[in-house]
Symmetry: C2
Subunit: 362 residues, 2 copies
Amino acid sequence: MSTHFSPLKNDTFLRALLRQETDYTPVWLMRQAGRYLPEYRASRQGAGSFMSLAKNPDFATEVTMQPIDRFNLDAAILFSDILTVPDAMGLGLYFEEGEGPKFERPLKDEQAILDLKVPEEGSLQYVFDAVTQIRRTLDGRVPLIGFAGSPWTLACYMVEGQGSREFHGIKSMMYKRPDLLERILSLNAQAVATYLNAQIDAGAQAVMIFDSWGGALADGAYQRFSLKYMQDILNQLQREKDGQRIPCIVFTKGGGLWLEDMAAIGADALGLDWTVNLGQARARVGDKVALQGNLDPAVLFAEPDQIRQQVTATLQSYGKPSAGQGHVFNLGHGISQFTPPESVQVLVETVHEVSRQQRLQA
Amino acid sequence: MSTHFSPLKNDTFLRALLRQETDYTPVWLMRQAGRYLPEYRASRQGAGSFMSLAKNPDFATEVTMQPIDRFNLDAAILFSDILTVPDAMGLGLYFEEGEGPKFERPLKDEQAILDLKVPEEGSLQYVFDAVTQIRRTLDGRVPLIGFAGSPWTLACYMVEGQGSREFHGIKSMMYKRPDLLERILSLNAQAVATYLNAQIDAGAQAVMIFDSWGGALADGAYQRFSLKYMQDILNQLQREKDGQRIPCIVFTKGGGLWLEDMAAIGADALGLDWTVNLGQARARVGDKVALQGNLDPAVLFAEPDQIRQQVTATLQSYGKPSAGQGHVFNLGHGISQFTPPESVQVLVETVHEVSRQQRLQA
């Protein structure tokens, strides 16, 4: 595929991920296109189920652009869900009002696992179409991030059928029949690698792997059942497209104890949740990877002055970026639906302003 | 109060907490008296609400003894709940079938916070009566652990009214009105210190502070809003009773990144969840504190061979105890209600057997 896109006007986000110098710290927010925006709620209103909309490239483009049009963000992220891949494997992803994602046909027994196949060609075309349409609509304003769930996180939902507190089903499988779990994980890794490569072909300029449930694993089990399969993906990923490096960000929520291991699998950057001290994380990973994060999303419920204070403290915790290191500002988790949009405005302005000043200091 | 209790026959648990030499690694399990035991379910059957039973010292004694009678455990823990203190403050603790704890009268507004008072004398007498009765019934077989929730964890439930995923209410308060939150936390710390001291007077031979939700806090916020108030408790705690040191264990679920800070507040031991590498944790805290933990409770869903393997790996991860250090074996979280009791038998035997062998190795 050879698609011509407009040249990029703001590459600050990509430069920070590649640990190159930037004039300021770039910022985007996980789940930045979402329910906290009145224009998003208006677009959703009476327009059908979440999945029917997520599968509609026009809708995905419209809502992806909403936070870009409203705030001075440094990256756009594809509007989609981390569970599109198992949905395309035939598990039947659906959402019920006010609840997390669920599967109609979770992996109930060994036979279901043996029958599992990577998605058929074309079954995820709606995602790639959305990527291309969004990239065209962005017209070079900021880079577009593609993404997928990690093999372990996908497997959690595929086995449990939904989110879980204790992960009774998948953890039983992990300790009793690790061979079965590894079969699912291998297949997921292969499917996710193909999926991300197709997003890159379609126009994604960076990709992110969301390991939302890696932090539920024990030390040792994390390395074996989550990290290894993310590394498998990285090994299969095209890292350059049209002469541009395509950075890859790996984010394990609750993975702060394993940063050294995560920094060694070949990612360009690591996402961090808010439990991690940014300065300490920076010292631990050195110039191996850039860091992305990590404000507590709950800060955005506070008043502007308090938001400014907390954002500044986060930037100071990372410190002044030096050559060969990079920081992308983000929340430590997706933005809450209860966030006042004005708070995001304050956050973005503060990140840009304070990080410019920071670079001018001796 | 001067109560005469039988001399202790098995002090392995206390010695390990105090970093003295032991012949083997002692073991107990969080929530060891609970629904996974058929005898517990039989005692509960038709016997009234959870709280009416928890307030009945005869019942508390009966179920506390059940795992001690069944397994070769090295400690008993008072059957109670972490939320007894706010219940005694008048918030009305209750449990609905299959759900977590809730409060009838959570702290809805500033006035409710200003009106909050430490529990009236006598309102927690049922707990102290249970402690004394259990200690008598134990007759020196193993030590009895008393416990309480941490000020932050209590505040989470007091403000949210129940468990929470995002802690929208209390985190909003934390960032908007830290003065109000600090008022609650100070009061909680004072009440918990009084409560634990009374448990020690009544016969508790060690105490543990459960900080179940400390891991929801951002770095920095944890130190200010959770750790500080646990330190306040430790500063007020009687650490010796009848010539015996009363060890105190502090457990922050999800607190693995903050072990150095936790080791500095004056606790004798730290509880660890399963995300922490025991060997690394040992290196980080040195001889400042003993460690307790940290098997993934889901291991107990596996077959005996796999349980033995995982228990052995956990002991090896800690390594052979050396002078001035100590390890107490436990799960990284409460035992699941779905655990087969036979699995616990395998765990306890393996811990004792393998840890004895470990000490004989060069």
